[in-house]
């Protein structure tokens, strides 16, 4: 984590995963394969929850500076907003992203 303008690992993961994933999915919700979108968004949601858990652990342990806390919180808020937008766009509910991803799910 850095204090300067260099994006933190959280920022990079958030930007990269959402941008690249949305880039590869057809923009038209009529034609896109709903099942594939569901799978992709479930993976992104899993990442978001993992990062959120990690951030909260660090917060509770007092392991972040106020600047880091603010930056991480902002990134996670952005990520959550983006997830909600994508869900709405593809007509998925939060429950649709509950797929149990087996061993990956245990990381939560």
């Amino acid at each position: 984590m850095t204090f300067d303008d260099t994006p933190s690992p959280f920022d990079r993961i958030a930007e990269t995963s959402l941008d690249s994933l949305t880039g590869r999915v057809s923009a038209d919700p009529e034609t896109v394969e709903r099942g594939l979108v569901q799978l992709v968004l479930t993976l992104v949601e899993l990442l978001r929850q993992l990062m959120e858990r990690q951030a909260v652990r660090r917060l509770d342990a007092g392991a972040m500076t106020p600047e880091e806390t603010e930056r991480v919180g902002r990134t996670l808020m952005l990520l959550e907003n983006r997830m909600a937008e994508l869900r709405d766009y593809f007509g998925l509910t939060p429950e649709d992203l509950n797929l149990d991803l087996g061993p990956l799910g245990k990381l939560l």
């Binding site: 951030a55 917060l59 509770d60 603010e70 930056r71 991480v72 919180g73 996670l76 797929l99």
Partner: protein, 217 residues
Amino acid sequence: MLLYAVVPPDAAAPNGAGLGGHRLETIRSALAAMIVEECPDRLDATNEDSQTFAEILCNVATTTPLLPIRFPTMLTTRSAVLAELQAHETAWRSRLDELHGLSELVIRAQWPEPDHELDAASRRSGTSYLEGRAAALRRRDASVAEISELVRDWAREIKVLPSQQGIRLACLVANADMPQLREAVLGWQQAGDHRQAVVGGPWPPFSFVVDQEAESA
């Protein structure tokens, strides 16, 4: 062949048809057997199919203990099925014995949370957002611990399932203990304002096909 479940090697052949309308068959090995349906056509499995698959399993479970196979899983030949049986039958037989007389209940519990999408105060800054999320996660963890403790006498194993809101716990329970567990969960619901709890099941042990302790050892 669509795979349904692992059963004891001497399990009675199931009646009736499978999802594709074909007869259910049992392929037997020394220590375990597999219930399958020969489905030559490609299946487009929908949520309705998942539900039908579950209903078929629940029916079969009334006549024999079983380990459900994840849906949908298909193998091409009988020999492929036999090979899987021979590779895993010792572990599967052992787990079938451990699960004897036990079924799965899924507890889904929810409570009022501030609707944080609309909660402007928590979204005013990254810090307040993160603190809000930390508090929500603490409440979830506390509820998992509280309900796990509540059902401790009746749930032989508990598995936390993914959930967006509230919590979901899969519990492995003896049939005789189910009424007490349901009553305890109802008590939890009534003990707080606007709490909601639903207990699904009894179902075949989807969440408990592998011994979790052995797995993490």
